[in-house]
Symmetry: C2
Subunit: 461 residues, 2 copies
């Protein structure tokens, strides 16, 4: 299903020649995302509205070529790469925030809006959009929806799906539909909205989004706690929740992550610490102060060697900069990264952390773990040179073992990155064959000719 | 597709003869739900586990009979009635709470657990399950999931779908699958969990549920505010939210609803009031008191003639008893009820309330409105004698006009009751044909032979 010359000419007729290209130097920019792998598309187009996208998808069915939608390419599982070639639809030009409705706490946007720009726009109105993936400075809302992005605030506020009320979508057939509602409640027909969220660009192309907002909390307090041992840090996480305290973030960094950030940013983090918790509370100012007090005394009671509250918003923001830098900063250790985002029930994080320690000792590989301990969501990274085939083999064996153990503990192999191509080989570890077969029938119901984002999610059969 | 004698004998072989029946006096108990309409099933069975349900659905495909799952029959749109006959599966015997996990804030239950029994069980552990439909004293969790029940606390805490993490389901084909996860995050494959929630028993039969819980708020405060005019009451609702205050409930009753409850319960409610708001705040005790203070002064500033805080939990509970009694108490006015649960964006409630007034004046019908004003979700009721055909015709015309206006205001024709049979004729007012056709393809992907709960959601073509 390569893109024919005739098909390309028709795409040009739809979007205009300045907004599509087949030049190799442009195509290569869209051959990769934040996951491993590079796959050249046959062409790239930059649609500006749903009508163009609908015409392109109709054409794709008629001419038989693949279409792969793409935001900023910050996805971690290969969701945006054209593994079987075809046309990349770059959604970034559809980047208008159409309405922010303070009275009803909703916003309507196009999918290409950058997540942090959306945060800034709603916060200016005294409103709050909680989902905040680490890539928020460059990821798009459309990409966040496609992957059901999570991020640190999910422990209190939930994930992207919890904020999506309605969509406008172009189906793979070219049909344009609306799903969902503009209100918090709505139960008319099947929940297509939440089926599309997290479907990794395989069921439709989102062209408009209605998002639920909250009032912006009056105050946010940020603190760190340093622990000699990672186990005691994560036991503290469980204890905080067990006491009925739900902070707005509850982030964990292991020693390798701390060292990595400190080498990179020189902020004075303790290089010898076993683990660091980065915790935020929000609410009115008294409530925030009280919550942080309680958490600090729990941290001390569980053996924290140092507990510190950020004195200024700048200091808090520097701490978050450190946290968000980890993923990229890890490349100082090795040219390649294998990056998994497992989740286990919160109380079982100590077990998964111990298992990671064992795997590190057994394989001798460089591993760093950090993430959203408050939801049991740990980003587990192996840094290596993939040309070292022995290391690569060990790494794959370690990942498979960790996935098995994660599932044994009642967890999931992906909390927020999705399956894409990188986790497709492991899908059947988690999903039973009956559910997989049903998912394939759903894909077929949306995309009878299989033209949209092929080769994703489902393991090759 | 009537149930044959052979098929019934096979059902008997699956569940045992004490747990299935064809006696008319037993069948008639399962011929209706809380909506209009009575449809006799051919037989009734009381399964006790997923294996039995799977065997029955497999048989239904082979023998060609319909199967309709049913909880307590408290649904408001006819979701549980066998409109085309067949076998009723009464799910109430699968009523065990299997686990309440305090450390991870999750519970696992069977679908037949009564909602309020579940509330009591988790509250005993210091935990909180917010969804609280007015029928909670008799509705089942499985029914709540099938309809995506809402209730008064949705304004702060969201609806049923926001608390469902994972399911075990028997598909219409008889296949048994697991969906979702046991953790807050999880993005592995398509979101079957939330597709099944709100699918009104047409896509699968839920046999086990994993629910997310919250810590139980330390305190709850309850207040009422009496307004001379309904418009000022609902304008106050908007103003509360505009100020960034999200109370846990924000309920509205119009004069007809107030009178109705007062006649029924004799609690001393003001019979002449234009409207009453029933508001709850929760959090720690200071926070609760502060929030109620702010709301009370907003109510006074907007013309409330009386504002009152419940002094004791007993008084608060009496107020809720009054609120929950409205729906049934309305039958003092007429033998039949047409009951709709429209939603509009919160700021547009004054408009919809004025339109209801106009319709009341125009038709001369008895109308009562009450509901979850905090989410813009109004239960609009017409009380009448359906043998008065002229009144019935006027009522249907009024409902259709109100639906049109609701959609014009950016609302939805059902916030929590679902479509079932009562709203199916109106579905295409809200859902576009492309989305409807996709929903039918999804139904086919789940239920190729159309054996599960036929005749629901989709308008007759």
């Amino acid at each position: 299903m390569a893109l024919s010359d005739i098909a390309f000419k028709r795409i040009e007729a739809i979007v205009g020649s300045p907004r599509c290209t087949r030049r190799p130097e442009e195509r290569i920019c869209y051959a990769y995302d934040a996951a491993a792998g590079r796959f050249m598309p046959d062409a790239v187009a930059f649609p500006e509205n749903a009508a163009e996208i609908s015409a392109i998808l109709t054409l794709a069915n008629a001419e038989g070529f693949f279409v792969v939608p793409r935001g900023s390419g910050s996805g971690m599982s290969g969701g945006a790469v054209p593994v079987q070639g075809g046309l990349i639809l770059v959604m970034n030009r559809m980047n208008r925030i159409l309405a922010i409705d303070r009275e009803n706490l909703v916003a309507t946007t196009e999918p290409g809006v950058i997540t942090s720009a959306f945060h800034a726009a709603v916060e200016k109105e005294g409103l709050f959009y909680p989902p905040d993936p680490s890539s928020s400075d460059f990821s798009t809302l459309g990409g966040n929806l496609a992957e059901c992005a999570g991020g640190p605030r999910a422990v209190k506020y939930g994930v992207t799906r919890d904020y999506v009320l309605g969509l406008e979508v172009v189906l793979p057939t070219g049909d344009r539909i609306k799903t969902g509602v503009q209100t918090t409640k709505g139960v008319v027909g099947y929940d297509l909205t939440r089926l599309l969220v997290g479907s990794e660009g395989t069921l439709g192309i989102i062209t408009r989004v209605t998002l639920k907002l909250l009032p912006l909390p009056a105050s946010v307090g940020t603190m760190t706690a340093i622990f000699p041992l990672p186990e005691t840090a994560v036991e503290t996480v469980s204890e905080i929740i067990r006491r009925g305290i739900i902070p707005r973030t509850l982030e964990f960094m292991d020693n390798a992550s701390i060292r990595c950030v400190e080498n990179h940013l020189k902020m004075g983090l303790p290089m010898e610490a076993g683990a660091l918790l980065l915790i935020e509370a929000d609410g009115n100012s008294e409530e925030t102060a009280k919550t942080l007090d309680k958490i600090q005394s729990l941290c001390r009671g569980h053996g924290a060697s140092a507990v510190h509250t950020a004195a200024t918003p700048e200091e808090a923001s520097a701490l978050w900069k450190a946290r968000k830098a980890i993923s990229a900063a890890l490349f100082q250790y090795a040219p390649h990264k294998i990056n998994e985002d497992i989740v286990v029930p919160r109380s079982r994080i100590p077990q998964i952390i111990r298992r990671i320690e064992m795997l590190r000792e057994k394989t001798g590989l460089f591993m760093a773990s950090f993430g959203h301990a408050g939801d049991g969501n740990i980003h587990f990274n192996i840094m290596l040179d993939k040309s070292d085939l022995e290391a690569l083999k060990k790494a794959h064996t370690a990942v498979a073992a960790l996935f098995d153990y994660t599932l044994e503990l009642g967890g999931t192999i992906s909390g927020e990155h999705g399956i894409g191509i990188t986790k497709a080989p492991y899908l059947l570890k988690e999903i039973d064959p009956g559910a997989l077969s049903l998912m394939k029938r759903i894909k077929k119901a949306f995309d009878p000719n299989g033209i949209l984002n092929p080769g994703k999610i489902f393991p090759e059969s």
